[in-house]
Amino acid sequence: MSFIETKAVQLLNDLPEALLITTATGEIVFFNKSVAAQSGFSEQEMMGEHVSRLLPQSSRRKVDVVTWFGRWADNPDPEQLRYLTLEGVRKNGESRRYQVRVSRSEDNAEVYFVIVLRDVTEEQEQTAALRHSQLIANRIIAIGEDAVLSIDTDFNICFWNQKAEALFGYTEQEVMGASINILLPEDARDGHTKSIQTFGSGKAPSRFMGERGEITGRHKSGKTMPLEASITKTYIGDKLILSAQVRDISLRKMAEANLAEREARFSAVFNHAVEAIALLDSDGCVLEINEAARQMLPIDEPAINKPLWQLPWWSSANANEQAASEEGLRSNVQEAILGKTVHTRTSLYAGSEALDLDFSLIPVSNSNNEVVYLIAEARKLAGS
């Protein structure tokens, strides 16, 4: 060997890349220090061995490793080679993944494969772990009840989940890259843009549903709908991505309006009834009193949550009369709590004046036959 040849071999041996050379049939003829360090096999052990000792043939792969070398040595495509990996094994039996570069070298009609191995085991495992966690997060977003969408710095849509498709009527293909404005009625666009800009330049990282007012969204059909949104910002480099969870609150608003209407109807009946009515809980404490009851005998102190028999309505100048009145009422309530409708006559006292009443206690049961409310009704007796 000339000086240059000796030097070249030494340089290949000292190369920081793991390098080996095989014959056309896969017999190892050169095994540098880096590949020895990487694999745990020594140069002496591997010289003359078949390369499959380092890169074993899997029974579940169609092509053997030497055919693989031939394929990629003859037609090296740098773009594709980035993704080509082979299974390897260390001397201690540990499995590794190698990214492989291979070229063909010919010397006096002898063909050799020059092979560089890069161990990408950890890199691949980390990528797989990241991909799995992304998959989990993405699948959670996909099945979420809220529409999720993101917009980029130019307010163009860059993420769109299936619920967003259901809510706004646009498919992912239709909205990706389109302006967020297509999801808003025209008269709301400027205001929304300003609101997003304010949030984007503000200090808060997120804003939650309920912290901001209702917004109006626009379905593909042109129909508008009331929406609530939580919004969060993420900077990727200097690019701002805003992501929102959006919920249609039409049904909730309708339910609230229905509830308010029902409440108004019931209170119209309750407060315009001629009889004095009180709604009591199952312990006989007052939950509601109607207007007729208030007018029958105005009382200054609050009646709500007090036991009916302790209200000053039944007070009397005569201590014995008062005790009897309270006790009588209390036992009436006890009877009603047990499920019996009570009709009686009683007296209210307005200072020294007594007001004689026709008085009823009606138990109200739930579907399990448990008394949950009592209704107390009182009507002035004629001539009283």
Binding site: K62, D77, Q80, R82, Y83, T171
Partner: protein, 106 residues
């Protein structure tokens, strides 16, 4: 939009709508179907979008080109009905196709 049924190796079925013109790989990745990786993004370079096409659907998927065949040669658990899903474009003809996945992609 044709409905594609991606069947994981464990039998879990993902029935998703994929727009015409997208590849079977794009459709799976965009709809978060596990088991189809698509590392190279559709360059026909990595064989991580390997699938099996049931016999009755093979004629609807066309023949693999030489490059795809070459890459498949190095994939894991290759069978005669193996294909790379990045090389099959979705069209109305594939409405209802069942796409089966190998045990692993690496």
């Amino acid at each position: 939009m044709p409905t594609i049924i991606y069947v994981e190796n464990n039998g879990t079925e993902h029935e998703v709508q994929v727009p015409n013109g997208q590849s079977l790989m794009d459709g799976a990745v965009a709809r978060m179907v596990p088991g189809i990786e698509g590392d190279c993004g559709g360059l026909c370079a990595c064989a991580t979008c390997h699938i099996y096409i049931p016999e009755e659907w093979q004629s609807h998927c066309g023949e693999p080109e030489e490059l795809e065949q070459n890459i498949l040669d190095f994939a894991f658990d290759v069978k005669p009905n193996s294909r790379l899903s990045c090389q099959i474009k979705v069209s109305d003809e594939l409405e209802g196709i069942r796409v089966l996945m190998p045990e692993r992609q690496y």
